[in-house]
Amino acid sequence: MKIMNLTAPAVDVATLPTAKMTARDVDVFYGDKQAINSVSIDIFEEHVTAFIGPSGCGKSTFLRCLNRMNDTIDSARVTGRMELDGQDIYSPAMDVVQLRARVGMVFQKPNPFPKSIYENVAYGPRIHGLAASKAEMDQIVEASLKRASLWDEVKDRLDESGTALSGGQQQRLCIARAIAVDPEVILMDEPCSALDPIATAKIEELIDELRGRYAIVIVTHNMQQAARVSQRTAFFHLGTLVEYGDTTDIFTNPREQRTKDYITGRFG
């Protein structure tokens, strides 16, 4: 099933900021099975881009291509072109470690390291040599935790294990860990699916605050969430990008019938 691709969106490109990441005709295969079919998309700076779609539509797969996390899966194969600031991220010249430092990731299930809260945040900066001294590292940790709205809750117990926090706190710790390496893009793979509504609200608030500094891509099953937090929305279905545009347009005036059916809850 080959449908029209919406490359650079047809809407007023002039008002949009520069594209941080671009994908052109990206196919992803797991062995013989094609998971992503010719997807082209632009991710903009200082925007939250939401990927929505029914389960198994390939949105998480595509997200994981953006920082080459799919490299860890032996059978996965990616073709097409993907760029970060005009640089091909799948070219041999690209350093994967550096790419992942620039394109950070927050996962579906909170996955803090079984180390102290401080160590969780300090780990990234340490391996990349971002802090020259202990004092500088303290500053990075404090700033990251503050930016993740977790500082007030944990400032007196930085030595405690990160795994001892509640689910919502753990997820914010993971966000703090991601922003501690000062990324340019943050990928979030259903960051709230394991959290209760209150913790979810906190994370959403946080995402909105973080938008000022980073390009954020969020995969979500929750359409209200996509509508609340994102400025741009991409609807995936069966491995293809069906529609991509301003969130308000997608939710109020979708151009594709399938998008309409999905957001009105007729399938998915």
Binding site: V97, N111, F113, A178
Partner: protein, 436 residues
């Protein structure tokens, strides 16, 4: 199924006798199973208690020995040395070569005067050894008369410990009536005492049970296991990491995996033959040496560590790897900062099992000559040595009665060795264990 037909059921009556009977049967099954488990546990406990009781009751006397008091005159003429020759250069050599046996025999004859027994039935062949130690410590004793306690023969030792039935017919016991009379007379004089056997804890094997020691075998075991650990732990862990984290999944890695699993099940004597063929015959390494024993046991332990290591690494949640990769850790950083620390408790458990098996292993060491009679404590990795289980095997084969308690005492030493090793590893594991 026919469409649209819903079978109407009567509401379930839980009070029916059939229902009650079913509940009763369920509870009975639970009880039976619990009793079975408890029964198995108590049976195992009983066997263990019986085993430990037998070994300890037989072996505890092995740590003691009987001494007889003699008065010896360290006569320079009899010893064949003089004061000037032992203080000068080469004095140590002169001291070692002196004729202590003559002095001791004279002293012993004086001791048993009027008792109508041969001195060989009273004092041990090695009774002169304390004399030498005394003179070595204090050269001024030369020419003086000293009173010293020396080990008795094994027969007297057993008499003192009560392990000989005095009422048995004379030809079925290792001591004659005359010897028993002599023993009782000495005992009455207060010239017989029982002390902790320092010889047993500090010397190596001997043909006389009263002079045999376990330290040589214990040190041999220690040196052998050291080589085994130093080789098999790093190689095993690195192999496990490579196979789990780096190796491509293809036919070759499949073959390697199957081979490792098979190696873990190969009878240990085969490894002994391998060690004999490769290390001794091909590389020409020294026979009976701890280094060869360690190499052979390392070959045997490796697959166990690799398998345990792979299982432990596999059990580290993938989310931890994702998290580390997500902040830009390189594969080697993911392994050494996150996966390995989390897998280490499991790896250590596997290593304990492997090392405990290596400590108790006898068969492969027989093939590389570690069953030789070694009368010296091994001084290095290439000197002849034996190990604890082989020593136990050798002593259990001895004809002399005195070796029975030595065998049990050696088993106690081996068990203590094992307990210490496992205790240390369990302590390490608990210390490193973390929650995720």
């Amino acid at each position: 199924m026919s469409e649209g037909v819903i079978i109407e059921r009567a509401p379930t009556d839980w009070a029916l006798p059939a229902m009650q009977a079913r509940i009763g049967k369920r509870y009975a099954a639970e009880r039976r199973f619990r009793m079975l488990g408890l029964g198995a546990l108590s049976l195992a406990g009983l066997f263990l208690a019986f085993l430990l009781w037998t070994i300890i009751s037989d072996g505890v006397t092995g740590f003691l020995h009987t001494q007889v008091e003699v008065t010896a005159k360290l006569d320079p003429d009899v010893l064949g040395i003089d004061a000037s020759s032992i203080s000068g250069p080469g004095g140590e050599m002169t001291l070692n070569r002196a004729n202590y046996t003559a002095v001791m025999n004279a002293a012993a004859r004086q001791r048993v005067e009027g008792l109508d027994v041969d001195i060989a039935a009273v004092i041990s062949d090695g009774a002169w050894l304390p004399l030498r130690s005394a003179l070595r410590e204090d050269h001024a004793l030369l020419g003086q008369e000293i009173t010293i306690w020396v080990p008795t023969t094994s027969a007297f030792d057993m008499l003192a410990k009560g392990s000989i039935d005095r009422n048995a017919p004379a030809d079925t016991r290792p001591v004659s009536d005359v010897q028993i009379a002599a023993f009782d007379s000495l005992k009455a004089e207060g010239a017989i005492r029982t002390r902790i056997n320092t010889t047993f804890l500090s010397q190596a094997d001997s043909t006389s049970p009263e002079l045999a020691g376990i330290w040589g075998a214990a040190k041999g075991s220690f040196l052998t296991l050291l080589i085994t650990l130093v080789l098999s732990f790093p190689i095993g862990v690195l192999t496990a990491i490579y196979l789990e984290e780096y190796a491509p999944k293809n036919r070759i890695t499949d073959i390697i995996e199957v081979s490792i699993n098979n190696l873990a099940a190969v009878p240990s004597i085969i490894f002994g033959l391998l060690g004999l063929a490769v290390f001794l015959n091909f590389f020409g390494m020294p026979r009976s040496a701890p280094i060869v024993g360690g190499l052979t046991l390392a070959l045997m332990t490796l697959p166990v560590i690799v398998i345990a290591g792979r299982v432990a690494i596999k059990s580290v949640p993938p989310s931890i790897r994702d998290a580390a990769l997500g902040v830009g850790a390189s594969p080697i950083q993911v392994v050494f900062h996150h996966v390995l620390p989390l897998a280490l408790p499991g790896i250590l458990t596997g290593t304990i099992i492997g090392m405990a098996r290596a400590l108790g292993e006898t068969a492969p060491l027989l093939m590389i000559g570690m069953r030789a009679f070694v009368a010296d404590v091994p001084s290095g990795l290439d000197t002849p040595a034996t190990v604890l289980p082989v020593q136990i095997f050798l002593w259990s084969d001895e004809v002399a009665r005195g070796f029975i308690e030595k065998t049990s005492a050696a088993i106690i030493v081996l068990l203590i060795f094992l307990l210490l090793m496992n205790g240390f590893a369990i302590y390490l594991r608990n210390k490193l264990e973390r929650r995720w």
